[in-house]
Symmetry: C2
Subunit: 351 residues, 2 copies
Amino acid sequence: MVETGRTGGGRASTMKDVAEAAGVGVGTVSRVLSGKGQVSTATRERVLAAVRAMDFRPSALGRGLKLQRTNNIGLIVADIANNFYGEFAEGVLSAAKALGKHVIVCASGEDPATEREYAEVLLQQRVDGVIAFPTGHNTDVWQGARRLGVNMVFVDRIVESFDVPTLMVDNIGGSRAATEYLLALGHRRIGYLGGPQALTSGQQREEGFRAAHHDAGAQVHESLVVRTRFTRDTAYASALRLIHGRPAPTALFATNNVLGEAALAAVRDSGMTVPDDISLVMFDDVPWAGLVTPPVTVVAQPARRMGVEAARLVSAPDQPAPGRPRVLPYEFVIRRSCRPWHEPDPLPGEG
Amino acid sequence: MVETGRTGGGRASTMKDVAEAAGVGVGTVSRVLSGKGQVSTATRERVLAAVRAMDFRPSALGRGLKLQRTNNIGLIVADIANNFYGEFAEGVLSAAKALGKHVIVCASGEDPATEREYAEVLLQQRVDGVIAFPTGHNTDVWQGARRLGVNMVFVDRIVESFDVPTLMVDNIGGSRAATEYLLALGHRRIGYLGGPQALTSGQQREEGFRAAHHDAGAQVHESLVVRTRFTRDTAYASALRLIHGRPAPTALFATNNVLGEAALAAVRDSGMTVPDDISLVMFDDVPWAGLVTPPVTVVAQPARRMGVEAARLVSAPDQPAPGRPRVLPYEFVIRRSCRPWHEPDPLPGEG
DNA sequence: GTGAAAGCGCTAACAA
DNA sequence: TTGTTAGCGCTTTCAC
């Protein structure tokens, strides 16, 4: 039989309804459902039968109001369509499920105003905790949240003068590994395509880049250090500018997957080839990294695992708040997007 | 100053607190905050001042309980890390933001038990609506949900004998376009790598595939029709089997991005080249489709727009429930993964 | 082992 | 214009 039309808000049944149907008090229904307190087997059966018959589902609203706890957590990412955040979110959802929590997901687009708006919303929703990739701008709201007893976990970014449990990948190490690899191959003009310097992850990746140069006694060409926003258009424009910069870079280090995508497109559109004309390394091991020709050497972040960790951290507030961020290891995955580089002789035949 | 340590659950202030601070009744505070009813400017100022001073945020729990409406909607996708669902979710989030709604995201992994579990959770949360890519199995729960007045929107799959507003891309048309394209290039042994036939989208894509063959007077090689689950491993194995099937396929049609990824990997691992040895078309215009060599010809779904539409539909229950699904247009994007195919002469030198 | 009742924070109806 | 109050659905204490 085909059910047709909309039935309009049929009222959901309540504990009171169930109690009446089972001929008991609401307290008893609650005890049965929560498993707390003693209930005789006979009454339990009657209650359970009524619950099934009425298709009763206890209201999380009433429960939350009484308990002052919702089992909901908020998640604020920059862009859920970006594979890195997608994997991260997958990890959060999966861990949350295991912990009996539910996740309200928000996308800030890296915009402080949007972040603030969502923070307000999540606080009104009385979430037990929030996991955020903070823009770094709305410290007052976040401070307030913490004061209210909302468990917080920040990911990827350290917010100054504000000691919140923070999770990040070893950005400096990953960046250093990538850069050392290029330097070892002989590259001395490495283009750096980075994100906004406001973000901790951006700062750290640049720090690793510089440290590797320093240790190798190599010089960073400041004209080849470009910072850009994570939108496709601006990233592409910046990549183009970098590729055609002076001195001409022999290798490119893109510090996330959006920038890597832009770099690859820009290289190709410039009629150049990876790795023959220019080598390429990037952060983030997205699916396409191994699929393009040549497959791209990457610094892989354990995105899913970071999500799992974040969900656990936000649900276990008893742990001592670590003074310093919890750092997860990167993995350097060498594929085929880099070639050794030897500076050509100044004038062929001479020397 | 660095704030240190956790403050523990500082109680959130309530309307009562604000009312006392402002020297008014709670009703007045409510009126000021909601903007409904008349309040003198002087009182309004006093109230607003108190609100700011106490950093008051009204509880969505109390409000929801009273109003029997939460402004929350549930979203159940299969896999949030899959770019298609990521784009879709992005659309939902963005439309929801504009509508003042908040989104609880769940990932079913196409598993009916998980879907059921999440459905229960969302109903307990008293969401106003839910957007789901249904597995097709838990009709009783969904029926119940509808009866309770929860607005529902299904995406991509039609659940039989259950008339819920449904949204999908023109699967038949898209599949037909892709197949016709391959047939027009001369291919007559086209491998079909499809998803589980339980899903409407799968059925329709296969239908389009067959219809195109029929119209062209071409024959579908049943040995080249393979259906597989969407996990990477099984998809890869199925792709391999398909590639080495008999008769040997000259082209491959993968019906989503996971299958397309598997197909591409399998082709390469078999030492073959796209499009010289085998042509490839797939559903879903993911970022890597244009990035690999050669770039892959695809049937693009308007994933983000579908998400926006779904969010609007679920928030506008007044609209007459359409008896048939709302179908959105695909876009066929021709890139360079297909070559014309001419059956080689039976014996060179003859004829 | 069970029922009655208070109260979580809010809105809306009613009274003043 | 403003204050008071009932009640949304639940948990928990207290009395029986």
